[in-house]
């Protein structure tokens, strides 16, 4: 699970180098950002508001095109891949997912099962395959399967979206604040779920809760004003004074069986 020296190639699910992105007429949102995600690892992306975390996730997910730099997926340049090919490599859950149509959870899961097959009809409503059943069970969606998204609580909606977009195996799972609207029980369950992904999958999660990152991530990438401020193993980053500086608040470290937790001083 530990960091291995970066080596480009088909064994690395995602390798982004020197990514840059700017909005027309504005300052750079991201400058020279490089991230490598190794198979079997969970990486937390942490940084203050406005540091470019969501933009980076959108670039990696294929929602935005970078102005500079390149993204390799298992050694292949993402820019040369078809959208469908790329979709099979990287699954993505955006921040605050919302749907324009008031889908039922069942319908959302059905759409989610068409990753990489955008014009395939897929199952209209039948969700009988074993993988979907596992996901429904795991995300505790059984009681709300037939309810429509607008009638769900924020947490229920977030669980449904997680299940729909990240529930099926992909070499890379990207999730932008997946735990934001979950209660603590569901937060832990979701993080456990990322933790249990097989050794061919790499996860990159934007997390605001440093302690969730400390407990579940193998590595942490600190992002600050569009640049990588520091990157390292979870233990290194949690003990780094850079963390206090970055968030502009002195932090108290507390030793836990699983590592270092932080509290605001």
């Amino acid at each position: 699970m530990m960091a291995t020296p970066p080596a480009a190639g088909p064994s690395i699910p995602l390798e982004a180098s020197a990514l840059g992105f700017r909005r027309p007429g504005r300052a750079d949102v991201l400058k020279d950002v490089s991230v490598t995600l190794h198979a079997g690892t969970v990486v937390a992306l942490v940084g203050p508001n406005g540091s470019g975390k969501s933009t980076l996730m959108r670039l990696l997910a294929g929602g935005l095109l970078p102005d500079r730099g390149r993204i390799l997926l298992r050694g292949r340049d993402a820019a040369t891949m078809t959208p469908a090919d790329r979709a099979r490599q990287v699954a993505y859950l955006p921040q605050d997912f919302s749907s324009h149509w008031n889908l039922s959870v069942r319908e959302l899961l059905s759409i989610g099962s068409r990753r990489g097959r955008p014009l395939s009809p897929g199952p209209a409503a039948a969700l009988d395959d074993p993988m979907t059943r596992t996901v429904i069970e795991r995300f505790r969606l059984e009681p709300i399967l037939n309810r429509r998204l607008q009638s769900l609580s924020g947490g229920e909606r977030a669980r449904a979206a997680c299940a729909a977009f990240l529930g099926r195996p992909a070499p890379v799972l990207l999730a932008d604040e997946p735990t934001a609207s979950l209660d603590i029980g569901h937060q832990l369950a979701l993080m456990e779920w990322f933790r249990e992904q097989n050794d061919r999958t790499a996860c990159l999660l934007v997390l605001h809760d440093l302690n969730l990152a400390a407990r579940f991530a193998d590595r942490i990438v600190l992002l600050d004003r569009g640049r990588v401020a520091q990157e390292g193993t979870t233990a290194e980053i949690m003990d780094s004074p850079r963390l206090d500086i970055l968030f502009g608040a002195p932090l108290t470290r507390v030793r836990q069986p699983w590592g270092t937790a932080v509290l605001p001083s």
Binding site: T82, A84, H100, L103, I111
Partner: protein, 332 residues
Amino acid sequence: MTGVERPHSVLPGIGIGIAAVLLGLWLGAQRGDPALLAGLFDDPMDPRLRLLIAWRLPRVLAAWCVGACLGIAGVLFQGLFRNPLAEPFLLGGAPGAALGATIALLIPLPLPGPLAIPLLAFAGAWGATAGVVGLARLAGVRDAATLLLAGVAVSAVLAAVRSLLMLALTDESVSLQLVLSWTLGGIATPHWPGLGLLALLTALALMAGRHLAPGLDLLGLGDDVARNMGLPLERFQRVGILVAAAVTAVAVAAGGLVAFVGLVIPHMVRWRIGPLHRPLCVHAALAGGAATVVLDAFARSLMPPADIPLGLLTAMIGAPVFIVILIREQNR
């Protein structure tokens, strides 16, 4: 149980469609005799029966096809723009078609008479929409809202050109009333070959709609998710709009400007079967067809011997229904 939710059956839609066709055959300037319909097989040589089959049946079936195309086009436009208020005439289709028909009526063209209006109406409806999309693309417009504004601008220009033509070219031989009555929408009774072509195009429209539907489902999840799921977003939207405009143009060529069917029907169907676009497309075609057949039957029979223009009737009924829909959506 996690398993199968029974997909919504199309049987009720087909049943309602058959009932609507029977009603359409019966209603008219002269009510059909139910006994005549019932005795269809007793005396196939009855002249009244032959009249019914030669005149009323093709019109009823054409009305069904027009309504089905409007229903499909409505689903496509609403899905592409992710907006339940989108409708088939959104991007200049209506004024484009009206301009085409005006040209066909006012300017002598080397086209066979009965084909001139449908051909030019089709070209106008499709050309206007393709023009809007092309212009927007040239200008580097990407978002749907700006595309709508381009549609508004192009529509205004087309309407102005049409008014100018009407003022300049109408005289005793071609009356303004002729041009206006086309604009108000009405289904011309087609010949059987024409009806065959219309039916074929309607079937193609349904197939195209069903083909695009899974992409529309993805579009509804937002740009980022749609792209991440593998949808080539810009290309899909561009192709989708051109297909939707072609489906609209088929309806316009056969039925003139029939208002509100393409807006209201997808809404009502969505309430019943949910927002997944594949079943939505099929059910909106069935419901649009049935609704248009019934409305066309009333248009023929309410003020005999005059035909009320179908577009007027659909607007008079469709607009209040639409307001009810808006109120209902507010309260959901």
